[in-house]
Symmetry: C2
Subunit: 179 residues, 2 copies
């Protein structure tokens, strides 16, 4: 089984090393990890870099059986938009999606909000989801609906800590083996 490894770790100073470490963990659990910046076997040569990277990531996803996403808040209250994009992509393809987050708290606790009647609102008056979830309900809804799971850290973890990733991969391997 091939697992697409989504997450903002592609932005680390040594992304290939982190990708190799994630793949080694996948291998220990009988899975093949596919990292977004892995060389695609074929890639269009014409378009600019950003379009080739996008095309390669979509090709990688189409060739994977499931997705494990790092949904740790990234430059704001919620998950990286690119990672959320990929979660939606794999969900629409009907593949099981799993996630983990290095920040233990609920989404609503990360946004400066006040109670306004029944709703929780931010400083602009926009509603803050109040379901006790780790992030936007579409992400956790997709994970639940696909038969996946979301793991939350008990204490904040750094970008290169792979302990929760390994727990998520182990859980994914069990679920995929049972399916």
């Amino acid at each position: 089984m091939r697992i697409y490894l989504a997450g903002p770790e592609v932005f680390l100073p040594e992304p290939a090393a982190l990708g190799a470490a994630k793949k080694a963990i996948c291998a220990r659990h009988g899975l093949v990890g596919v990292f977004p910046i892995d060389d695609p076997t074929t890639a269009p040569s014409g378009p600019p870099d950003w379009r080739r990277i996008h095309a390669a990531c979509e090709m990688h996803m189409r060739g994977c059986d499931a997705l494990v996403a790092n949904l740790t808040p990234f430059r704001g209250a919620g998950a990286d938009a690119g990672t959320a994009y990929e979660l939606g992509f794999m969900r629409a393809l009907g593949r099981p999606v799993f996630g983990y987050t290095h920040i233990p708290g609920e989404y609503r606790a990360r946004v400066q909000a006040r109670r306004d009647g029944r709703a929780l609102r931010d400083h602009e008056g926009l509603e803050v989801e109040d379901f006790g979830l780790a992030d936007n309900l579409m992400l956790e809804g997709a994970i639940a609906a696909s038969g996946g799971m979301l793991l939350r850290a008990n204490a904040p973890l750094g970008w290169t800590d792979l302990s929760l990733f390994e727990a998520c991969v182990a859980a994914a391997a069990r679920r995929l083996a049972a399916a």
Copy 2:
């Protein structure tokens, strides 16, 4: 043609009114707008609210021919994670995806970053995409690959301003009619 209207406007104090205004604009351009919180014709009755909302949004998306997403930065440097999720979902279904953003600047200009050799890095040392795009390359890559387009405001616009939305719907209607 039915258009799914993705974006964080569902969090406004009067989301249904905003949804109705967006649908009226779609109708003027010969399209049927579908707002995420529209009542689904059928919905599962058992699961908790957040799972029913997720299920309804996915059902709405599956029934739409294209997506128009408000990708305005939301509680951070980039687009709302739920909206990015939906963009990925519709892209994987093979539907054209369009977007617009109310903040004119490039993504890299919204992140406190410094040049480190060839890379631009944030305060954690994580790379900042340096392509001159409005957001993560997966979003704009998907829009380009699907034959859609991304419109950027010339000056910041408020959440209830629908002028750029209308320009995006008009462009989408032209593209869809030509396809």
